[in-house]
Symmetry: C2
């Protein structure tokens, strides 16, 4: 169940590698057959924005697109005007195949930075993918597979609304930072959705999902989340229900990214309670989720609360008010730190489980925030020392 779950969407995939490269499918088209062509996006705030991000953010200003073309393996980032020409060429060829204006085609790329695309292979791949377009569930699964890089599994979602459907796919497992991630996400719906509503709903959904995960604190140049609406269900959704379902879908996909974090063996949920306001709680949660030492401790199944509080201690008082002598920390429900001092016996904590819950109470106010991350293992180092330019 993926992006072809809602009515009005077809996908096609192809192998678009430079000669001699791997034979994995690495190119996907997602086509919206309408009747609507709403399409909005949320993009990386990185100042080195990749060519496809520049292209796609520009053409989606009015909130319309008929298709998106995605390649994996090469991010077409830091490639200057030539890279932008290449992104445009991908849109143009896709448009020719589908009978769409070039400006109606969004482009996403993910992979290594600083290399121009092998454009001939990509254009041939677009032709092939366009020949094989299908609305089948299998085609949706193939597309979810074709966008992966270091991911170890596909990540898809399918959600039912009242008379309408929502589907999604995402790739991402490393270079996952507090603000989006090295991720490409496409969400489709057959609900009737105008661009303004779509834009607002997507922004809100990202805030509590993709913007609350952190695998390695590294923000990418290519992060893109697209929401496309075909209107093919003929149903105009209840706005609250749509927001809720979209939020669920994004959170679900975000958690799958963390679960597939490069080399990860434990998902870590960091929840900060008792803050004066949500921003303060979030700053504390992010400080903890960014601790390399804590992530290593969890890999070693050690409930090392010292590494939690030493990270908390780096948050300036102006950002988050709290008294260190009133801070509690629990690992999976065992309060190992009480009032900034040793609490229950850490031996009581069992971290031989796939999901670790670190709950922090600042003892200050009533606001909370949650961030997800994962542990830092030998496999992460191997993956990122060996994934060469």
């Amino acid at each position: 169940m993926s992006i072809t779950y809602p009515a009005g969407f077809r996908t096609g995939t192809a192998i678009a590698h430079r000669p001699g490269g791997s034979q994995r499918r690495n190119l996907a088209l997602v086509v919206n057959s309408g009747p609507m062509d709403t399409a909005v996006g949320v993009f990386t705030p990185n100042r080195f924005r990749a060519a496809p991000v520049i292209w796609t953010s520009r053409i989606l200003e009015e909130g319309h697109a008929g298709a998106v073309v995605i390649n994996s393996g090469n991010a077409n980032a830091c490639t200057g005007p030539e890279g932008l020409d290449q992104a445009r060429a991908m849109a143009e060829r896709t448009g020719e195949q589908l009978g769409l204006p070039t400006e109606q085609v969004a482009v996403c790329s993910t992979g290594i930075i600083g290399h121009l695309l092998h454009l001939d292979s990509i254009l041939t791949g677009i032709d092939q993918a366009a020949q094989g377009l299908s609305a089948s569930q299998e085609a949706g699964e193939e597309a979810a597979k074709a966008i992966l890089t270091t991911d170890t599994c596909t990540k898809t979602v399918a959600v039912d609304g009242s008379g309408w459907r929502l589907g999604g796919m995402v790739k991402g497992s490393g270079m996952i930072a507090p603000q989006l991630a090295t991720m490409i996400c496409v969400i489709t719906t057959d609900a009737i959705l105008e661009p303004a509503q779509a834009r607002q709903a997507l922004s809100e959904a990202c805030r509590f999902s993709f913007n609350r995960i952190d695998v390695d604190g590294c923000m990418s140049t290519n992060d893109t989340v697209l929401l496309m609406a075909s209107g093919a269900s003929g149903v105009r959704p209840d706005p609250d229900q749509f927001q809720e379902k979209l939020g669920q879908a994004c959170a679900d996909l975000a958690h799958r990214i963390v679960a597939d974090g490069e080399g990860s063996r434990h998902r870590i949920r960091i929840r900060v309670d008792g803050a004066d306001n949500e921003d303060a709680a979030l700053a504390c949660a992010r400080a903890v989720s960014g601790s390399t030492l804590l992530k290593c401790a969890v890999a070693g199944e050690d409930p090392n609360w010292g590494r939690v509080v030493s990270s908390l201690g780096t948050v300036p008082a102006a950002t988050a008010a709290y008294d260190p002598a009133h801070v509690d920390v629990s690992f999976n429900g065992i309060k190992v730190c009480r009032g900034g001092r040793p609490g229950q016996d850490p031996e009581l904590v069992d971290l031989h489980v796939p999901e670790v819950h670190i709950d922090i109470d600042l003892g200050q106010g009533d606001s909370q925030a949650t961030v997800w991350t994962d542990d830092l293992t030998h496999e992460y180092v191997t993956i990122n020392a060996d994934y060469h330019t």
Copy 2:
């Protein structure tokens, strides 16, 4: 050549472990025999300040101390009022042995967080160390060894001024953050130095040394740098020369910490040029030095400039002005990124060397800043997954 290199200082060491613990020496005394007793410190800005940091920063307010007692293995951090009582007890026993008021004894601790000390062993250790005080070079080396935790080697320095000397020792290899580090550093001099001058000189020296290194971005609860002056040379140093020599000594010790970074195989010097001002250059250098992905790439000997620019891109424009299209990046002199795009062939870069120089030119102004870090290896993960509470 260590802290006993200048005249007027004696050290003693002891084994102060809980019963059944390791038999490594883990306690050191440093005693200033005068005639002066100037002592100033720079301390971690972490809000969870360990008991010895609270104690020592308080007693050094006037700039005087006759001795410092240091234990390794247990940081006496997050231990509440009992921990503060223990730090005070260490100072008291040391004072009794040396004939000093309790408030004349600085205390430093390093090691695991969240455990009270095994105080009986520590106090017995203080008695033993006081019996064996010596001004020999060997005694200085023993002290440098006794303060280590996960360090693989001692880190000491000895510098000559005009008629005066300076010596130093430091421990630290993990939990090393942009602002100081999990480090204890003691610097001694026989120059005549008043507290005010000592304080200003130490602060300035730290700014460009210990505050410019980053092993894992994790700020500790116990960081302390002490400067003690005996005046035993009878020489009042030229202030500029003293500042220069002290700065050299601190930079030298800081680089040794990076060189001994947990699991590290490459030192990485990140220099940012062409910034509008030093703060902008420093923010960019720190963003790059904090990239887990880049540190893995260097471990894999891959000159991955994409991971450099994607980190640069996270620095807000308000913090550091630059145009991504004017940014150059070199690895060991090979300009692999020119104007935000591919430059020289990365194959020309040889990273099979112990020190990697990443030079970034923002193409904006004339200011620069340099930060040192190291690579992220399997060994780092092993050390920090296995170093349990």
